[in-house]
Symmetry: C2
C-alpha cells in the first residue's frame, strides 16, 4: 500500500482524546513514506478547523492532507452542479460548512445565522406558509451535522424542499457520531425530521449524501491526490460508511478498528453476509499497527 485514507473520529480520537497508540501509528506510516489523507464525515469543521483539532489532540497533519465532507460537498456544488452565482444554498449545519462553501464561492443562507436559533413566532408560521419569508434564490437545501438544530430551521428547510426543482443534499447521513467514547446525534439524525415530513406529503425526495460512502467523495479525493486505488487502504470504524466507501471505491484494502462504532459482533455478522461487507482486516485499535509493523 502506498496511500492510507484515515477516518478520524473513532479511529484517531474520541471526542477530545487521542486513542492509544494512534499518533505513533501515523508517525510510523509517515516514516515509511506512505501518503496519508484524513477523510472525515464530520461536517461541522472546515479543513482549517480540522487542522486545529489535530494540533489540539497532538497529531501531526497539514491542511492539504485533510478532506472533509463539508469540503467534498462544496466541491460538488461548485464544480459538478455548477450552481449559478445568483442561486443560493440553505444550510442546516455549522460554520465548517459555511467556510468550505465560501472557499468555493457558493452563496448560502441559514447555517449559523442567529435568526434561526430563536423561537418560532406567530409571524414565522404565516411567513413560511405564504412563502413571504422564503428567499426565491434558494435552489439547494444542504444538511450536515448541526448542534443547533431548531424548530424554525426544520420548518424553513421543509418549505424550501417543497418548491419544485429544489435539490436536497447532505454532507453525510451517519445516524450517530462518536464523542467521549459514546454516540451522539449525527447528520443523518438532523435530516431525519425532513425526510419524515417530505414522505408525509408524498414527495419523492431523498438527500444525496456527499460524504462517505458516496463515491462522489472518492472521485474528488482521487482527483486531488492522484492516488493509485489498488495501492490505497481505507481505515475506519464504521462498516456502513468507511468500509463500504473503500470497498465500493475498489481500493486495494480496507482496515477496520474497534475504537469507534463497529464492534466485533458487527464484523462477524458482516463476514456471514459475504466478503463485500466486511473489511479486509481489522485491529482492536490503530495503535496495534505498530506491534504488527
Amino acid at each position: 500500500m502506498s496511500t492510507f485514507l484515515f477516518d478520524c473520529d473513532g479511529v484517531l480520537w474520541s471526542g477530545d482524546t487521542p486513542l492509544e497508540g494512534a499518533p505513533e501509528a501515523l508517525d510510523m506510516l509517515r516514516k515509511k513514506g506512505k501518503q496519508i489523507v484524513f477523510v472525515t464525515n464530520n461536517s461541522t469543521k472546515s479543513r482549517v478547523d480540522c487542522k486545529k483539532k489535530f494540533d489540539t489532540i497532538g497529531i501531526a497533519a497539514s491542511v492539504d492532507e485533510i478532506f472533509g465532507s463539508a469540503y467534498s460537498t462544496a466541491i460538488y456544488i461548485s464544480r459538478i452542479l455548477r450552481l449559478p452565482r445568483d442561486e443560493k444554498v440553505f444550510v442546516l449545519g455549522e460554520s465548517g460548512i459555511e467556510a468550505e462553501l465560501h472557499s468555493e464561492g457558493v452563496s448560502f443562507i441559514g447555517g449559523t445565522d442567529p435568526d434561526l436559533r430563536r423561537d418560532m413566532q406567530p409571524s414565522d408560521y404565516a411567513g413560511l406558509a405564504s412563502g413571504a419569508a422564503l428567499d426565491p434564490a434558494v435552489t439547494v437545501v444542504l444538511v450536515g451535522l448541526d448542534f443547533h438544530t431548531s424548530y424554525i430551521k426544520l420548518a424553513t428547510a421543509f418549505y424550501y424542499l417543497r418548491r419544485p426543482g429544489v435539490r436536497f443534499l447532505a454532507t453525510n447521513v451517519d445516524a450517530t457520531f462518536p464523542h467521549s467514547h459514546g454516540l451522539f446525534p449525527g447528520a443523518g439524525s438532523i435530516s431525519a425530521p425532513l425526510i419524515t415530513m417530505i414522505r408525509s406529503v408524498n414527495l419523492e425526495l431523498e438527500p444525496l449524501p456527499l460524504g462517505k460512502p458516496s463515491q462522489a467523495m472518492m472521485d474528488a479525493i482521487e482527483g486531488k491526490f492522484k492516488l493509485d486505488r489498488s495501492r490505497t487502504c481505507m481505515v475506519g470504524d464504521r462498516l456502513d460508511t468507511d468500509i463500504k466507501f473503500g470497498i465500493e471505491g475498489g481500493l486495494g484494502g480496507t482496515l477496520g478498528v474497534l475504537t469507534g462504532v463497529m464492534r466485533e459482533d458487527d464484523l462477524l455478522q458482516a463476514g456471514k453476509e459475504g466478503r463485500e461487507k466486511g473489511p479486509s482486516a481489522y485491529l482492536e485499535k490503530l495503535g496495534d499497527l505498530i506491534a504488527g509493523a
Copy 2:
C-alpha cells in the same frame, strides 16, 4: 348519530383563525342535542390551555369536552402502566404535557426545563456517555410536539432509550401539524431522529403512540364519555390519524373535511384502496354541514 368527536387543527381552525362556518356548525349540533368531544393530537396544550384557545378563536367549549393526546398519554402512564411513584418520565415536549402528567401525579424531568434549551458543552458529552448526567429513576421517554427541540434533548433521550427496559412513548406520531394554512413539523418529526439513532445501534424499539389513531385513546374516551360507538361520528382532516381512528374504533361513521391535511386526491386514492381507508362521507369544510342540515 348522538356523539361527534372533533379533531381541531385543520377542522375548526388553522393556526389562530377559525375556519369559515365551523363555529356555526358546532352551534347547530349542540342545538340538536348532540354530545360533542374535541379530540386533538396537539400535545403542546393541556385541556386548560386548549380551552383558552377555544375562547380566543371564539368557539364555545368546556374543559370537560376536551380530550388531548397529552391527557390521553398521562392517563395511560398513570392508570395502565401504573408507573411507580419513584420512577420518572423524560419528556420531549411543551408545558401541555407537563400539566397533564402533573394532574395525574406522574413525576417527570425534561420538558420545558431551560437547562435543555442550551448548547451542548464538552462536559455534557462526557456526562451522557458515562451515564453520570442521567437520572437513574427515568424509566419512560415520552415524545410529543416540541417547539424547542434541541441537540442536547435528543442526545439525552437517546441515552435513556438505550437503557434496558426503558419504554418509548409518543403522544402521537403525526409527521406534520397544520398552522396558518400550512404544514409544520409535528410530533412524528420530533421523534424521527431518535428512531434513526436507535435503529443504527440495532435496538428494536419503536415509539408507542397514544394519540389518534391509537385505540388506547378511543378506549379512554369511551370510558370517560360513556359513548355508544355505533351512534358516534369522528370528524377530521387526516386519513392516517382521524379517519383511521374512527374506522378502527368501529364508530358509526367518519366525516372528512378538506380544510387541513387531506386533499380530494387523497380521498380518491383511499376510495380505490377500499372502504376501510376512506371516510364514510366528506365535506369541503365543516361549515357546509349547515347547508346540508
